[in-house]
Amino acid sequence: MKKASKSPKQRDENAKNKKWQTPMDLPHATPSEYPQRHEQANITKKGK
């Protein structure tokens, strides 16, 4: 297993691999559109 390095250089190098996700860029939703937005974002998984 490769160890994550804590050196600033290695840290900044690792940062390029971006192990995090950026916010989803979806248009503003009104409350009546929330269920649809939930589905778009895979938030509800009904029927599991």
């Binding site: 840290r11 192990k19 995090w20 916010p23 989803m24 409350p31 929330y34 938030i43 599991k48």
Partner: protein, 397 residues
């Protein structure tokens, strides 16, 4: 009436119980129109909170219509729609006079028991153990509101139940968590836990001036909720741990912040952190299972460890008892500040009600499940097991 009652670990049922009555001239009775299952109710389901008794009515997030008022109630009348803060307060003691209503000195009749466990007693709470008053909760058709003039807030006609009901707990709790984090303009705020309180802490962090919000969880749909409605960057710690480079949440947070760490860290997880993924989490789990420990505190340790020097750790997550392996060396030597507490709901209701009215926040985005009260026992388990994309359950008795 029908009510959701606790009968032991993993055992909640709908029972037929006596209707509540006016027990004091300051009481009111409400017909519950909307009530919710809170993440902290799951600590009761899972048997983490002591001093529960079989038959206790659960629920501390409820609103309804006033049916009856005691002879001393002057500010409410039959027919008023009200939300009821989960913390019960007298409105007159040393702490209430300072707006610290969750520290009310006079609302817990079992204060002595609580003081033995905690040094002093917090306020009484609805539906949350006998140590905190033994008050019946609001997952029921009717509920008794204690000291109703102070502990019920009228809801404007144009505000729906679903917009208003979260004022009882989780919206003020998320807001107070962000306020306790002492956010300064442009700060990076990291939030552990993307349940309902975490989601509202994320929203509140933006309202209080955050420049960047990072959400940490392992439930993809909750992270998606944080990424869509909360505009947060997200870290799935299961995905991180699966990697072959030995990385962890701390490493990723440092990568995201050029090694400085998040300025403000919020632990919206509390006592039941995921029991896997790191050595301390596994040890916590073993200790809790064998009753050698009371809390799984990995998220709190992680927040302290990752927070930038001279930063703030805010803890809205509920803890039950004693925690070991606390990184006090890191806490002291990095000069951190920690703030916590049950929410002073009364202080925040007017402010947040206004924010809902002007559209600054619409709390209904977190609702994933709506159901009648009869479905509550099953939905406790759905919510606890994070099945079916469940983030927030709203019940209509």
């Amino acid at each position: 009436m029908k009510a959701l009652c606790w009968h032991g670990k993993n055992d909640v049922r709908i029972d037929t119980v006596e209707d509540p009555i006016i027990e004091s001239p300051t009481d009111a009775i409400i017909r519950v129109t909307t009530t919710c299952i809170c993440g902290s109710d799951l600590h009761l389901l899972d048997g983490f909170m002591p001093t529960m008794k079989a038959g206790d009515i659960l629920g501390h997030e409820c609103m309804g219509v006033v049916e009856e008022v005691g002879s001393s109630v002057t500010r409410l009348k039959k027919g008023d729609r009200v939300v009821v803060p989960f913390t019960i307060a007298c409105g007159e003691c040393y702490f209430c006079n300072r707006g610290l209503t969750s520290c009310c000195d006079r609302s817990n009749p079992n204060a002595e028991k609580a003081a033995k466990a905690m040094g002093h007693s917090p306020s009484g709470l609805y539906g949350y153990s006998h140590m905190l008053g033994g008050f019946s909760g609001g997952q029921a058709e009717y509920a008794r509101v204690i000291n109703a003039d102070f502990n019920a807030f009228r809801v404007p006609d144009e505000m729906s139940d679903e917009q208003a009901v979260f004022l009882t707990d989780i919206l003020p709790t998320g807001y107070m968590a962000a306020e306790n984090a002492q956010i300064e303009p442009g700060d990076t705020v990291a939030v552990w836990g993307c349940g309902p309180v975490g989601q509202f802490a994320i929203q509140s962090a933006w309202m209080l001036g955050a420049g960047r919000v990072i959400a940490i969880d392992n439930v993809p749909e909750r992270l998606n909720l944080a990424a869509t409605f909360g505009r947060a960057e997200t870290i799935n710690f299961d995905e991180i741990h699966k990697g072959d480079d030995g990385s962890n949440v701390h490493e990723v947070l440092q990568e995201m912040t050029s090694g400085r760490g998040p300025d403000r860290c919020i632990d919206a997880v509390g006592t039941e952190a995921a029991p896997h993924g790191s050595v301390d989490a596994v040890i916590d789990n073993l200790k809790v299972i064998t009753k050698l420990g009371t809390d799984r505190a990995h998220a709190l340790r992680s927040a302290i460890y990752s927070c930038r020097k001279a930063g703030t750790v805010s803890v809205p997550g509920v803890y039950a008892g004693l925690i070991d392996k606390m990184p006090m060396g890191a806490f002291v030597n990095k000069g951190l500040t920690m703030k916590s507490g049950q929410t002073h709901v009364h202080r925040y209701v007017p402010l947040l009600m206004e924010k809902i009215q002007i559209g600054e926040i619409d709390p209904t985005f977190i609702i994933t499940h709506r159901a009648p009260l009869a479905d509550a026992p099953d939905l406790y388990k759905t919510f606890r097991d994070k099945e079916d994309g469940c983030v927030k359950v709203v019940l209509n008795p």
